[in-house]
């Protein structure tokens, strides 16, 4: 996995952060220490009431910490003026918090105006931000929030949080109130935007799947903000730190790990191919000789057309147009093994056809390739466990 962060220097550094709400004997957040690297998307995940929101709000001091410290980009901000601090930290909440009496444009312009930007720059920034989140500025700038769909409102929320160009973005269950389809689209959108702007993001969710999909790292919270595990999605899925994390990650961790592997990480199998314009008799020879008993037909632009088997060629047709099983199950290398498995289980044929951006045939990924990769992941985890146990053993030996 490539290092996507400025190595070393944390953008956010939480130390011994504690919050004790008035009238409660037990702290909601108890001595939490955590670093978030610059450019990293850190996801807080955990059951309801474990203190995720409280922790998030302590970062922008909507909740004042009882004790502990917060550093932003090397500066201790535990006691600086909160209003000034918050203009440097974008904030996105579940209900979007768009001001209903202001237009979309005015909502996005709020923080730049608070920062005292000249109005020409504010206007340009509003349009830039709306474009960034995929909303046509001319069409949406002058609308009121209630004239937008929930998903669009959520995008405006993100645009507004980014408008002041803050280094840090806090998002509290930003997609919690949207339907599954919109939610997935917004998640993809966020990943695309993040690839462009590379902010330090802390995102709260109680959906482990969302955490796995979005997070560079995941912080799994237990009761009272106990950090059960902090690690990459693959680490959390593959090597849960304790039974609690294992239970929280839930059944199907192996399946979920397939979300994290892109198709280009597994070797695609070469596959016998022929042109639709080829002589059917020659193609039949090819089919007979092939290991899987089928051949993939390509068109003139090398795009997959159909799977043909021996049955399709007896009696021998005059030409190959319209022959065989349509080859619809194509994916590009950006798709995940999970997508591939999903497609495989839903269609006939020898596997998923890997194509490039122009739809040209690149290879086939079958169940065998997926299983081989899963086996490799398991072996890796085991090796790691053995190494960890050995390290623990030697540490104990030294003590």
């Amino acid at each position: 996995m490539p290092d996507r962060t400025d190595a070393g220097r944390p953008m956010l550094r939480l130390r011994e952060l504690t919050k004790r709400y008035r009238g409660q004997d037990r702290p909601a957040v108890d001595r939490l220490s955590l670093d978030v690297a610059a450019g990293e998307l850190m996801v807080f995940v955990g059951p309801s009431g474990c203190g995720k929101t409280t922790t998030l709000k302590m970062i922008n001091r909507l909740v004042e910490p009882t004790s502990g410290s917060i550093e932003l980009d090397g500066e201790d901000v535990t006691h600086v003026d909160p209003n000034r601090l918050r203009r440097r930290i974008g904030y996105v909440i579940q209900q979007t918090g768009l001001l209903p009496h202001l237009t979309v444009g005015a909502n996005v312009a709020l923080v730049p105006r608070l920062l005292g930007w000249p109005s020409a720059r504010v206007r340009a920034r509003v349009d830039e931000m709306l474009e960034l989140v995929g909303l046509d500025p001319a069409e949406h700038r002058d609308r009121y929030p209630r004239e937008l769909s929930g998903g669009q409102q959520q995008r405006v929320g993100v645009a507004r949080a980014l408008a002041g160009d803050p280094p840090v973005l806090l998002m509290d269950e930003p997609f919690g109130a949207t339907d599954p389809l919109t939610r997935e689209r917004l998640q993809n959108e966020l990943l695309r935007v993040q690839a462009e702007v590379r902010k330090t993001i802390v995102l709260v969710t109680h959906d482990i799947d969302e955490a796995i999909k979005l997070g560079d790292r995941i912080a799994v919270f237990g009761e009272r903000s106990r950090l059960a595990q902090v690690g990459t999605p693959d680490e959390v899925l593959g090597r849960p730190a304790d039974p609690y994390v294992k239970r929280f990650v839930g059944a199907g961790a192996s399946l979920k790990r397939l979300h994290l592997v892109r198709l280009d990480a597994v070797p695609a199998r070469p596959f016998p191919t022929a042109r639709v314009t080829d002589d059917p008799a020659l193609v039949r020879d090819l089919v007979v000789r092939s290991r899987s008993g089928s051949v993939l037909l390509l068109d003139a632009a090398e795009r997959p057309v159909a799977w043909v088997a021996a049955d399709d060629l007896t009696p021998l047709p005059a030409d190959l147009a319209g022959v065989g099983l349509p080859a619809t199950a194509t994916l590009t290398a950006e798709a995940t093994l999970h997508d591939a498995l999903d497609v495989m289980l839903g269609t006939d044929g020898a596997g998923v056809i890997l194509v490039d951006g122009d739809g040209r045939f690149r290879g086939v990924v079958g169940l065998d390739e997926v299983m081989a990769h899963v086996a490799r992941l398991h072996a890796e985890s085991r090796r790691h466990d053995v190494a960890a146990a050995a390290a623990l053993g030697s540490a104990e030996g030294a003590a």
Binding site: L62, N83, L85, R86, Y91, G97, L99, P100, L114, Y144
Partner: protein, 246 residues
């Protein structure tokens, strides 16, 4: 919002029409009456205009004073520090509210004599509480998530008040003020008892002298003043309510 513009102002034309019809009807009816000298002394343009003007002036001044008092008070009562005592304060004021406006006027007269100021103070005392209630409710119904969003973006408490809480409370506050003003237009007839004039003079004259045309004229004018003020209030509500909020 040119499309919504028509809907925004629709229905506002009806009230001026009703007022015009009422006045026209009154005029026609009076023309058909044989007015004696006593009646003519009251029912003439100068006198009627003066009384109407006094009546309007008293109502409007009292309403503005109520707004000037209720807004800051309501804002105070909805600040985090005082939010918990707000219900108590409203209850205590509610006890005062139970005293009839006439009683308030008489009490004030005993202490301060008669005149416009006493009438105005009585009217203010009468409608302060309902308006204050609306201010507190109006600010209280603003979604806390919006306040938090504002704070989270780095707006100061004052900025959140001016740019989020108050604009979003405007519809509820104005509805309260408008209702208070219309009721006040009726209560202002009592001003005649503390020598503050107004349309109450005409009505009372009509009753005392047993002259029906005088009584009817006073009553119809009073109704017209109430309707006109209600209309003005509705116009203000449409004009001042934030857009984007229905």
């Amino acid at each position: 919002m040119s499309g919504g513009g028509r809907g925004r102002w629709a229905g506002l034309a009806a009230r001026p029409l009703v007022v015009a019809l009422l006045l026209g009807g009154l005029w026609l009816w009076l023309r058909g009456q044989e007015l004696d000298s006593i009646e003519r002394r009251t029912i003439n343009a100068d006198y009627l205009l003066r009384a109407t003007r006094e009546h309007l002036w008293l109502t409007v001044v009292a309403t503005l004073a109520v707004a000037a008092l209720a807004l800051p008070l309501g804002v105070l009562l909805t600040r985090p520090a005082l939010r918990r005592v707000a219900p108590g304060v409203l209850t205590v004021l509610g006890v005062g509210q139970a005293v009839p406006a006439y009683g308030v006027m008489v009490l004030l007269t005993l202490r301060f004599g008669v005149g416009f100021r006493v009438a105005a103070v009585a009217l203010v005392a009468y409608s302060l509480l309902p308006v204050l209630r609306n201010v507190v409710t109006g600010i209280g119904q603003v979604d806390p998530a919006l306040v938090e969003a504002g704070r989270g973006m780095g707006m100061s408490r004052a900025a959140v008040l001016w740019r989020i809480e108050l604009p979003l409370a405007v519809p509820v506050v104005l509805t309260g003020l408008r209702t208070a003003m219309v009721i006040g237009a009726g209560v202002a007839t009592l001003a005649t008892f503390v020598g503050a004039g107004g349309l109450g003079d005409i009505i009372i004259n009509g009753i005392k002298l047993g002259r029906t045309p005088v009584l009817v004229t006073g009553s119809v004018l009073c109704a017209c003043v109430a309707l006109a003020l209600d209309w003005a209030g509705a116009v203000a509500e449409r004009a001042l309510s934030p857009r984007g909020v229905s």
